[in-house]
């Protein structure tokens, strides 16, 4: 299996891809659609979805799922279709930049297959939970699904970005019998390749600079989430095992030191470039008992970075990444609304706690 295709060789086709995504962008839900959705019941949401962009997925999955599960599977399938199309359209450097980000779905699929095999789920269940939005082709995913053992999955993934990390983690899995190391390895492989090979000394106001800023933000916020989770858990965990290189917020050593003291960690974030964006959330973090609010603030802050990408360089990777993030946000929001309504949350609570507009 080899995920490096010839598509990332040659010239980028920005004009073509951007023209295609403009039309897709027009069909994204707007604020009014969300306002309507939060006031609907779960059956109404499913009905509403049948009259939108998600019609074909809702109809295709309607015989197997119902209610909010149907909505969630339709959202995932639609997301996969759009991102798969996007990778089909992109050539050259643009393909590489887009694929870097979308490989997180490859990591998702690898983890889903590993978890499925580990828990003894049947093939159909595993297949349903895949999100075919990454770089893996259907044939490659078929090969992975055909594996009968975890070691076989790792073997099938040789010559991919997952090879090194998963092979090292397989030993740990065989010793401990738990998936932690393999799951972390799959995610680490994604984050390690996210920034690998990208220029580091680009102007921050250039298209590549903005793209890099977003990816670094993604890495920083992942490190931040993990540092806070480790600090809160109180468990004897080596923070450096969960550190991802490439961000600007802290290096491995700093993370090791800061995890020991939540106050110092919060102070460090306040003094960083993210301090202003996260100021209110950091105040709440000191008061509240839960990290959920803070994660919500991190998601919102990351999307603010994404918004900066949208219009400044019309013929660059920025509008493409902006579209990807807008589509992900749409899927997240619809799912959050549907699940929120299913759980009986009031529209105001859903708007405040779940939806990021």
């Amino acid at each position: 299996m080899n995920t490096l295709t010839e598509q990332n060789q040659g010239a980028s086709n920005y004009e073509y891809v951007i023209a295609r995504i403009r039309s897709r962008q027009a069909s994204l839900f707007d604020d009014d659609d969300y306002r309507k959705l939060v006031r609907m019941g779960t059956a109404e949401i499913a009905r509403f979805m049948e009259e939108t962009e998600y019609e074909s997925e809702m109809n295709a999955l309607g015989s197997r799922y119902s209610g909010v599960d149907l909505v969630e599977y339709a959202l995932n399938r639609n997301l996969a279709k759009h991102f798969d199309d996007l990778l089909e359209w992109c050539d050259g450097r643009l393909y590489d930049l887009v694929a870097r980000y979308l490989r997180k779905f490859d990591a998702w699929n690898v983890k889903t297959i590993l978890r499925g095999l580990y828990s003894g789920a049947d093939r159909e269940e595993i297949e349903d939970d895949l999100i075919r939005a990454g770089e893996f082709s259907d044939r490659e995913l078929e090969q992975l699904l055909a594996a009968e053992e975890i070691a076989e999955v790792v073997d099938v993934l040789s010559n991919t970005m997952f090879e090194e990390e998963l092979t090292a983690a397989l030993e740990d899995y065989e010793d401990t019998g738990t998936l932690v190391a393999l799951e972390n390895a799959a995610d680490r492989a994604f984050y390690e390749t996210l920034l690998a090979g990208l220029p580091t000394n680009v102007e921050s106001d250039s298209a590549t600079g903005l793209y890099l800023e977003f990816l670094r933000g993604e890495v920083d916020f992942r490190n931040l989430r993990n540092a806070l989770r480790i600090a809160r858990s109180g468990a004897d965990i080596d923070p450096s095992e969960y550190f991802i290189d490439g961000g600007r917020l802290f290096d491995a050593e700093e993370m090791n030191q800061l995890v020991g003291s939540l106050d110092q960690l919060v102070e460090h974030i306040r003094e960083s470039t993210y301090g202003e964006d996260l100021d209110d959330a950091l105040d709440d973090l000191a008061d509240a008992d839960a990290l959920i609010e803070f994660e919500h603030a991190l998601d919102a802050a990351l999307l603010e970075y994404a918004d900066r990408l949208s219009n400044r360089y019309p013929l660059s990777v920025c509008p493409v990444l902006s579209y990807i993030l807008a589509k992900e946000r749409e899927v997240d929001n619809i799912r959050a609304i549907a699940r929120g309504r299913e759980a009986g949350l009031e529209p105001d609570a859903i708007e405040q706690e779940l939806v990021i507009l």
Partner: protein
């Protein structure tokens, strides 16, 4: 009932012994019942607290999982759950409260650290951690509730049994025995009266016979004296 008993002194003594034993048993069972009720009230208070905590834990766990399913998706939450194969271990022992054997449940491996839950930390969120945390806490509360509520149920069964025994002694066995005792006593008194009456009759008859004999003798003596 009373008519089935032979009104003999032996039976009366036996019944008196049984009454004495039953009264002693009744007092002991009454004390046991009162003691059990007091223990039960303590357990009831504990069970009410545990139930309240359980309700709170359930609400918290539901909120946490709803939030995780909304923000991360049901597929992600199920996936994270599938990464854990190790189940909590439960061992049961028993303890004795006033003769009632109640279970004592010890649990291990319920609360887990972040790196023991099976799912990777790098690709998951604090929302999933909080849901896992809340469900671990809920499971601990369920185990505690199972222990306390089983003890409460067993205590209730024992109180019910003891109450039935006390009532059976108080309202059935002892009244029956007393009725029998009274019946035998009456019968024996009656027999005694009959005996006395019979004895008096015999005595009177005997006296009459003796008197008649004496008179006859006197008449004979008088007749002999007249002949002389």
């Amino acid at each position: 009932m009373a008519k089935d008993v032979k009104p003999t002194r032996k039976n009366l003594m036996q019944i008196e012994d049984r009454i004495e034993l039953s009264e002693r048993g009744h007092d002991t069972l009454e004390k046991k019942r009162d003691g059990l009720i007091m223990e039960f009230m303590d357990i009831l208070d504990q069970a009410q607290d545990v139930r309240e905590d359980l309700d709170d834990s359930y609400d918290r766990a539901q909120r946490a999982i709803n939030m995780a399913r909304a923000m991360d998706g049901d597929v992600a939450v199920r996936g994270a759950a599938a990464a854990l194969k190790e189940h909590p271990e439960l061992t049961t022992q028993s303890k004795n409260i006033m003769g009632v054997v109640v279970p004592q449940i010890e649990s291990s491996k319920v609360k887990k650290n972040l790196d023991e839950r099976g799912y990777g930390v790098l690709g998951t969120s604090a929302r999933i951690d909080e849901a896992a945390d809340a469900y671990e806490e809920l499971l601990e509360q369920i185990i505690l509730a199972a222990e306390v509520e089983t003890a409460m149920k067993k205590m209730l069964e024992e109180i019910e049994t003891t109450k039935r025994r006390v009532n059976a002694l108080e309202f059935k066995l002892l009244p029956d025995l007393r009725e029998n005792q009274e019946y035998i006593e009456q019968k024996l008194e009656e027999q005694e009266r009959e005996e006395i009456f019979r004895m008096k009759k015999i005595k009177a008859k005997k006296e009459a016979e003796e008197r008649a004999e004496r008179e006859e003798e006197e008449e004979e003596v008088e007749a002999v004296a007249a002949d002389d």
